[in-house]
Amino acid sequence: MDEIVTLNHGSGGRKTHELISKVFAKKFRLPEPLTDSAVLKFTGNKLAFTTDSYVVDPLFFPGGNIGKLAICGTVNDLAVSGARPMYISASFIIEEGFPLKELIAIADSMSGEAVKAGVRIVTGDTKVVGKGKCDRLFITTSGTGILDPEREHISTGSNIRQGDKLIVNGPLGNHSIAVLGARNNLSFSTPVTSDCASLNHLIAGVLEKCSEVHFMRDLTRGGLAAVLNELAGMTGWGIAVDEVSVPVSDPVRGACEMFGFDPLYLANEGKILMVVSSGSDAEVLDIMRADPLGKDSAIIGEIIPDKKNLVVLDTSAGGKRILDMPSGVQLPRIC
């Protein structure tokens, strides 16, 4: 096979078939013959369905790559809705000239992550576009999962009550800082690795033992601050967050101090916010901490009555301030 992807690979002819069968069908273990749609088996009353597109610069970063990200992201979107992720589709838009070796490495890690998460990649698509028409590689994954109707309230937060506790499953901001450090144009390096991970097993562990989970959301773009503000707006409650309790690792804090970033606004790819009833917080915390992906879980705040639906942060300094919705991406400061 050629060393790079060419427009020919997207022509629909022999090269396209070669690419699909030798890279994607092989890595994702798609059953032959390849048909236009996957036929899926599922049982249960409700089906959860999600889709997400992935663009990241650089494609490979400490702790993962765009492929792993695409699987984890879709698995997590399903899992935080209370669903059991089952089937994934994966579409690739590839820039002409993209090294095949990298594409194989990406497909490999997608396959590995799918096995880990217990989901199957069952369908997909490939398009090759001319040089400069896309930034190397874009991936879109969609996913379906079985949703127990009793868990349908989780994604809307409709069962949230005053006094409910907020839990996160570990330190925030690692993904953002790892990607920032991996970008070649910045004279900055960091030992931080991305937290990119599929959290469906961690979440299933909690849901199996505890029926008092009132809300879950993964803390991706916009970070904790965005999710908390969405939650407050959605449910009409206020939220009190204790800054000291929010786990942030020292290297991430250090980078944030340097660039003037707030870790509460940074994107994560393996972190969730869970809202649970005040009586079950200790139990949930124990379950989460027993999982390697939740060993640093912490209770960070609670649901409070507030007419303005504000998210209020008790600062590390003992003061109080608003934790507002992020506006735009955080830009590094001058001094």
Binding site: S187, V244, A317, D324, S327, L331, R333, I334
Partner: protein, 360 residues
């Protein structure tokens, strides 16, 4: 984290807040001059720790906020040339000019890159010999020495495709302008990082000439509270002077090497401050020996005079005579998503800090 946690120790903070409450028997208005202080004060929720008789107002020390619209317009004009790469600090990306921001220009396809220092920009110049690299240099005595070193490095390396668009400014003339306007201030929380370069002695004229105390302050909550306590005591004893709270970084004489680099490369010039207008000798322009790096000389561009939104009170906010909440645009037409005045654009702008952090 070392060197951070010590200065954010809650018990220490509560003790300081308590001492301030006990000592504050008059009414006090203190101005934090530096945008870094404005951001820290609100980010840590300092106002909620202070008694009602201590008022903190923000001054003109956010470099983005005091930079005139014409400066952005010039950078935007340069970005329209195909052979130009604009290398800028991130803060400037969203500042609205009269027609566009650099962020919008980047979306239009202009080559605009965020850098962390002038030397990063110089690196880009080295890698792109067929392009002209424009570095919009803003900031006070804190960032200007870095630009000076960049210019000297470019000079030594005979780099002929690097240009500085300078809006560098110096702090004391603006502070004097505020005092002369008789804004009611009982003390200055002076910029710690400016003073790390200039030395604290640069502020001596304020107590000497105008009878107002100055405390050079660090950027952690304990620093800020300790400085407020020091200023309260100065007012109580009616003994204004320049004190250094931020002793771990600042001395009376400052960083002599940085000062000499600055002096070697730049000379004072009159400068336009947003909200103040022209302040004599408050800007920094390249000296004759380095003139070839001056973007405006090498590639003159013109910018149209720009009319500000008449309701915007950024000028008064920067002079400390009004607070963001007194502005009719604040939280209505003007927000971080749609900034009308410069104080809303920068993370260190007072409107932005009030919007993001302050519980009404």
């Amino acid at each position: 984290m070392k060197y951070i946690d010590e200065y954010r120790d809650k018990n220490l903070i509560m003790r300081l807040a308590d001492q301030i409450k006990k000592s504050a028997r008059l009414d006090y208005t203190f101005m934090e001059v530096c945008g870094g202080h404005t951001a820290a004060i609100h980010r840590f929720g300092i106002p909620s720790l202070l008694p009602g008789n201590i008022r903190l107002i923000s001054g003109p020390g956010c470099p983005v906020c005091v930079t005139g619209t014409d400066f952005i317009d010039k950078a935007v004009a340069y970005s329209e040339n195909d052979d130009v790469i604009i290398t800028t600090f991130g803060d400037l990306m969203r500042v609205p000019g009269s027609v566009a921001s650099l962020e919008k220009r980047r979306a239009d396809g202009a080559d605009i890159r965020i850098v962390f220092s002038g030397l990063d920009a110089l690196g880009i110049a080295n890698l792109n010999p067929d392009k002209k690299i424009i570095f919009p240099g803003i900031g006070f005595e804190t960032t200007a020495p870095g630009t000076a070193v960049t210019i000297k490095t470019a000079d030594k390396g005979n780099i002929n495709n690097f240009y500085l668009l300078s809006a560098h400014k110096t702090m004391p003339p603006a502070m004097e302008a505020i005092v002369k306007e008789r804004v009611n201030i009982n003390g200055f929380i002076c910029p710690g990082h400016v003073a790390a370069v200039t030395g604290s002695a640069i502020f001596s004229f304020i107590p000497d000439k105008y009878n107002i105390g100055c405390v050079v302050t660090g950027f952690e909550p304990t620093d800020i509270l300790q400085s407020i306590l020091m200023l309260v005591k100065q007012v109580n004893l009616d003994s204004p002077e320049v004190e250094i709270q931020y002793k771990r970084a600042v001395t009376a004489e400052g960083n002599v090497i940085a000062q000499s680099q600055l002096k070697e490369v730049f000379e004072p010039c009159d400068a336009n401050w947003r909200g103040f207008g022209m302040i004599p000798s408050s800007g920094l322009v390249l000296r004759k020996a380095y003139e070839r790096f001056n973007a405006e000389r090498a590639m003159p561009v013109s910018s149209m005079p720009h009319e500000e939104n008449k309701l915007c009170i950024c000028g008064e906010i920067l002079r400390g005579s009004k607070t963001p909440e007194e502005c009719p645009l604040f939280k209505k037409l003007c927000s971080p998503e749609n900034p009308i005045g410069a104080c809303m654009v920068s993370n260190e702008g007072s409107c932005n800090s009030w919007y993001k952090y302050r519980i009404a």
